[in-house]
Amino acid sequence: MDWSRILVNVAGEIFAPTTAAYALAAIGLNVHFGLTGLLNMGQAGFMLLGAYGFAISTIAGWPLWAAVLVAIACAAVFGLLLGIPTLKLRGDYLAIVTIAAAEIVRLVGRSTALTELTGASSGLRGNSYKDTFQDASPFPDGTVALGPFEYAMNASNSWWVRIVGWAVVALACLLIWLLIRSPWGRVLKGIREDEDAVRSLGKNVYSYKMQALVLGGVIGAVAGIIYVLPRAVQPDSMGRPMTFFVWTILLLGGAATVFGPVLGSIIFWVSLMLIKSVMRVGVPESIMRTEQIEQFGWIVVGVTLMLLVIFRPQGILGDKKELAIDVR
């Protein structure tokens, strides 16, 4: 493998559909954690539910818009169900409940009882639900090369997924930018700081936390759709590790910022690809085999997350001054 090929691969990650999907999921988590202070440890659950909702309803013959609405509705209902018992309790309880609930979604999805619907552990093949999305493309089929990057226009891992994925990310950023500067966002920040104080000022804290949980979850569900469009719905690839990657991305970019999640996602996937490709070329087979290099990449991610939380808790775009304040 030559170096220019590696460079193209790495640069391709900057606008890959997966990067967009993770950026979007982190934007959703930012509404939970960055704005409201909710510890959602089950963002992958929202994503998986969105993916299932979209894929299953498409397979059932529903049009594209209806399938997207189904995904959104699934996440909204899931958020409500999680929120009703936990949002009146302290933050830690939500963390426990969400991580468990995300696992429930995954385990139910891969259980053989639902094979007809979800395809159990082998999941749903991409080609069974991609048609409506690909048909919606206004571009002609075929392969298009833009500089060194060459992808299919509409099929699977295509330019079309990239265009739609990043357009949705841009829309989500605009949404967060508007909300973060609005009185609504102010109430959420107040809740993040001290919910009793906000309650004493006459705001219905429970309702605001519910709105944040559902909104962030819905954004996560849309991220789930984008994530599965270039591949298949695989319940086991959307488990706890996915949640932790989303957290790493959010903390890397900077919580409570508008572009933090996007920047975090790009840096996360680019560096992961860089580490893996360089090591594949540079490390001889006798020292580390290809599968081991894959694992090593993830170890680096874990160490990065630890170092980040210790040395730069505000992330790349976060406001140092804001975090320097002792919250106790």
Binding site: P183, D196, V198, S200, E322
Partner: protein, 336 residues
């Protein structure tokens, strides 16, 4: 003193009240009220009945009847563990009572959520200050305002729908910040303020909603003497504007200095009520404090030179009013 006496009874005008300051008005109103626990007030804003709160086998609050006079500064005092803060939490919806009912401006507030209590006009502060640290001072203030259409998720997305209200509340906030001498800190994070400044900010923030009644939980705790004076001034200014103030405080100088009426709690019950100077001489109060505070002078205001002459005059007027009331046939005991 029974709880079913008619309320809303306005006492006859007192001839010697020549000015119309809040203090004179309140002093005149309260002059006819007996100094017994649970006594009805001529114009009660808060009326509580049989409010109890048990924590396991312990009874934290057991209040038979309590009325708070509108427009007055009422102090709630008592030794540690008397149930003052618990009663505060119950009245403001931050805790649920075991039994009891209470009303605010004639509307029942029992079982109403804290947020709705605040929206009905009764706003509180906390013993441990709750400044929202990672928000700026001005954002803290804006959060206190009510009727913000931009606090709805969907209107929030269309700035023209809430910009006008935002401008209005920003102006209101800036005025309040000037009054509380926090205008220089406008864009600083609240977490960077000193303890006393946070107390001021919390009080100013509570005033953003233009409340009819302010509940202050130990407003002076941890505040340095220089700021104490200005806080006292702000509380008195509230009374002049017609806002009712109920506060919990351990600082007897402050209680004596600014309160019109003092309610004393001990072991969850109200043991005494009356104007500050009377209450502090009350045997029940001395008993309640006996032990840790036996040798403490409950009301030495030698340190509060400014205003002490005014206060002596006010006391004299109160005494005269009380004497006049006792001489007239309609005393507070037989008020219809």
């Amino acid at each position: 003193m029974s709880a079913d006496l008619p309320r809303g009874h306005v006492p006859p005008p007192v001839p010697h009240a020549t000015t119309t300051t809040g203090r004179d008005r309140v002093t005149a109103d309260l002059a006819h009220v007996a100094h017994t626990p649970g006594v009805p007030k001529p114009d009660a804003i808060v009326v509580a009945d049989q409010v109890t709160r048990h924590f396991g086998g312990m009874t934290a609050v057991d209040v038979g009847h309590l009325e708070v006079q509108r427009g007055a500064i009422t102090a709630l005092i008592g030794p540690n563990g008397a149930g003052k803060t618990t009663l505060f939490n119950l009245l403001t919806g931050f805790d649920k009572p075991s039994t009891g009912t209470w009303s605010f401006e004639g509307r029942s507030l029992s079982g109403v959520s804290a947020a709705r209590v605040a929206r009905s006009g009764m706003v509180r502060t906390f013993q441990l200050t709750k400044a929202l640290s990672r928000m700026t001072v001005i954002e803290n203030m804006r959060l206190g305002a009510t009727k913000q259409s931009g606090e709805n998720l969907f209107t929030a997305l269309v700035p023209p729908l809430w910009k006008a209200r935002e401008k209005e509340i920003t102006e209101q906030a800036e005025e309040l910040l000037v009054r509380f001498k926090l205008d220089a800190k406008r864009d600083d994070y609240a977490g960077s303020l000193s303890g006393g400044q946070r107390k001021l900010l919390e009080m100013a923030r509570a005033l953003m909603s233009k409340p009819t009644m302010v509940m202050l939980d130990e407003p002076m705790a941890g505040v340095n003497p220089a700021l104490t004076q200005s806080l006292l001034g702000h509380i008195q200014a509230l009374r002049e504007e017609g806002t009712t103030v109920l506060f919990v405080e351990h600082d007897m100088h402050m209680v004596r200095h600014i309160s019109d009426w003092v309610v004393v709690m001990a072991e969850g019950r109200i043991v005494a009520e009356g104007p500050p100077e009377d209450v502090m001489a009350d045997q029940a109060v001395i008993d309640a404090y006996l032990g840790a505070h036996h040798d403490t002078d409950l009301g030495d205001d030698a340190l509060l030179d400014d205003g002490s002459i005014e206060q002596l005059e006010a006391e004299e007027q109160a005494n005269q009013a009380a004497a006049a009331a006792a001489a007239s046939p309609t005393t507070e005991e037989g008020s219809r």
